[in-house]
């Protein structure tokens, strides 16, 4: 199928199609992209989580992911597949092809309606939807109100957990997390219709990690499996953490070894002075 002249010209200009070359597409179905959301304008350029409708990019995304994968480092096969698909299903008016460094994928964006699509909109499997970062921001504002900073902190933590899990090819992630999702997952997403379901939140993402996965993660991080941090949301603690402050004695608690026996107690007056403000607070 011949390319429309305008597209052909643009692709040639970008160097994707060589002069006079006919691109014949047959098996672009293997293309790993699936229906997801993307918008370049929102979020860190290199962040691979922008497709996630529950992800709002925070500073961490900028620092950690950097600039992402440059366009020239894409596998040739992927680019060829994409070009074949474009040749078969040329982009309608107002649609432009956009490259995302984070996911190392192309998506298609409608300049007028601000809708996005992983496939060419004319592709039979194409699902056109709102960009994920925009959904995520709305979602965040609904969930957390204006406390954006608080949200981003939590989200950041959840993101790191999620990121670790996925690096291992983590089991039990939602289909949102799997850019190379299988077709049944794809169908599930399609059936759900509105991708923004309000009851789904970050908590669910945390729970999705099974206890076994959490313990594996703890082992990898060197956390004691008996530490609540290994299987729960508690932060990693030291030995003295959780002890009540008023259990501290007068002697120097930091002294150890031979020093331990050379730690004098404070004078009674000092103790009384120390206790006085505390009692005042109690009353």
């Amino acid at each position: 199928m011949p390319l429309p002249p305008a597209l052909l010209a643009r692709l040639q200009k970008r160097g994707i199609i060589k002069q006079e070359e006919e691109v014949i597409a047959e098996n672009y179905d293997k293309e790993p992209e699936k229906k997801q959301f993307e918008e370049n304008a929102a979020g860190a350029p290199g962040c691979p989580n922008k497709y996630n409708q529950y992800h709002v990019c925070v500073e961490f995304c900028y620092e950690h992911w950097g600039d992402g994968t440059p366009e020239y480092r894409l596998p040739e096969k992927y680019v060829a597949n994409k070009n074949r698909m474009l040749a078969r299903f040329p982009l309608p008016e107002n649609w432009v092809e956009v490259y995302d460094e984070g996911l190392a994928k192309y998506y298609f964006w409608n300049k007028v309606s601000d809708e996005v699509c992983w496939y060419s909109p004319r592709h039979p499997r194409a699902i056109i939807s709102d960009p994920a970062p925009r959904i995520a921001r709305e979602h965040a504002s609904v969930l957390f109100g204006d406390t954006a900073s608080k949200y981003s902190e939590e989200d950041n933590a959840a993101r790191r957990r999620g990121g670790n899990n996925r690096d291992r090819g983590g089991a039990g992630r939602s289909d949102d997390r799997q850019p190379r999702g299988s077709s049944d997952k794809y169908d599930k997403r399609k059936r759900r219709g509105d991708p923004m379901e309000p009851e789904k939140s970050d908590d669910e993402e945390v729970q999705e990690m099974s206890t076994r996965d959490q313990l594996k993660r703890a082992k990898r991080k060197g956390i004691d499996p008996m530490d609540p941090a290994a299987y729960g949301d508690a932060p990693v603690g030291k030995w003295a953490d959780g002890l009540r402050v008023d259990q501290v004695t007068g002697a120097d608690v930091t002294a150890g070894g031979p020093l331990f026996q050379q730690r004098p107690y404070p004078a009674p007056g000092a103790i009384l002075r120390k206790q006085k403000p505390k009692e005042d607070e109690d009353e």
Partner: protein, 142 residues
């Protein structure tokens, strides 16, 4: 014999008793008068109190009535004797591993006099830690 020795009824009195002594060691026994261990210790303390009156003064503190120092001084034992000199806690290396206090009943009066005298001499020289004339590491005969 605890009724013969002066008791301190509250934290302020303990503080003042220690502050008031300019040139004597203050020996404070923390515990309960009714405790058998304390009874033994008080017996010894009462016995030696007149003998050491030139360089030491003995006070008794009921740790139930005066709980202010229990936490800070780690007063878990039935009987605890601590030494202060010029508002400073004086440690004694008794060989038991705990230099802060005597937490058993000393039954030999002369031993206790020796300890107090050592504390006095050391503290006068500005030492915070003195070595007991007798090693109590083998105090327990297993």
């Amino acid at each position: 014999m605890s009724y013969m020795l002066p008791h301190l009824e509250n934290g302020w009195q303990v503080d003042q008793a220690i502050l008031a002594e300019e040139d004597r060691v203050v020996v404070v026994r923390f515990g309960h008068d009714w405790d058998p261990t304390c009874m033994q210790m008080d017996e010894t303390l009462f016995k030696i109190a007149p003998k050491v009156k030139n360089f030491a003064v003995v006070y008794l503190v009921d740790i139930t009535k005066v709980p202010d120092f229990n936490k800070m001084y780690e007063l878990y034992d039935p009987c605890t004797v601590m030494f202060f000199f010029r508002n400073k806690h004086i440690m004694v290396d008794l060989g038991t591993g705990n230099n802060n206090k005597i937490n058993w009943a000393v039954t030999d009066g002369q031993e206790l006099i020796d300890i107090i005298e050592t504390v006095y001499r050391g503290a006068r020289k500005g030492r915070g830690l003195v070595v007991s004339p007798k090693d109590y590491s083998t105090k327990y005969k297993y």
